[in-house]
Symmetry: C2
Subunit: 102 residues, 2 copies
DNA sequence: TCGCTTGTTCGATATTATTCGAACAATAGC
DNA sequence: GCTATTGTTCGAATAATATCGAACAAGCGA
């Protein structure tokens, strides 16, 4: 498919990160990525249409939260934990420690 | 004026907090409150119209980030640091430690 | 090459946010 | 009571987001 836009660590903006994670769907994606290490888009769709998921993954990518690489026909996603922790120490941990909505 | 809606600590939702803080105006308000302890709405308006500020303070109140009390004709605002730190340990600190946009 | 799978992109719609002027409410002081 | 001050609320315009079907693109295997 394409090559993706990933901001460098120094270009990650706190407002963009907070906005990206304020959406329940995206926060859920990030939680699952934190648990499972990495996953394809399809593995995390929860029954949602592909176009919706693609949109959310783009927001996560462009805000610097997720890194996507091509793997055959599918896309493998992982959290940019190290980059995030370098730029905003403790932020990702604090958010992931928050109890998910029941 | 009125009495305000302040969610109890246990009703503070991470999505609402992240959404509230993803707005540059509101994040700036929170930064100033963190520095100065407390402030009236007018002291933080930065030249913006009162109705806009009132809107932002409402978002901050209803998400559980700020507590507002009446003080004569003005409203004094302070961060609910203890409540936030109890529900989402380290979150507020991590966000406040992020370098403000220059 | 053909088809299958995985995602992206486009376009349209619906929902939600932001912004701000104008009117209103509440308090303090004269 | 009158007036000034401080914010809230209302209403409307504008902007940004979310959602999803349909069409497209790229790799893989038969």
């Amino acid at each position: 498919m394409r090559q993706f836009v990933h901001p460098s660590a120094s270009d990650i903006r706190i407002e963009s990160v907070l906005h990206a994670l304020s959406d329940p769907v995206r926060l859920s994606i990030v939680r699952q990525l934190a648990q499972e290490g990495e996953a394809t888009c399809a593995a995390l769709d929860g029954g949602r249409p592909k176009s919706s998921m693609s949109h959310h993954f783009r927001i996560l990518r462009e805000s610097g939260i997720v890194k996507t690489r091509n793997e055959g026909t599918s896309h493998m996603n992982e959290l940019r934990s190290a980059d995030l922790d370098q730029v905003f120490p403790g932020l990702l941990t604090a958010i992931l420690n928050a109890a998910p909505n029941l």
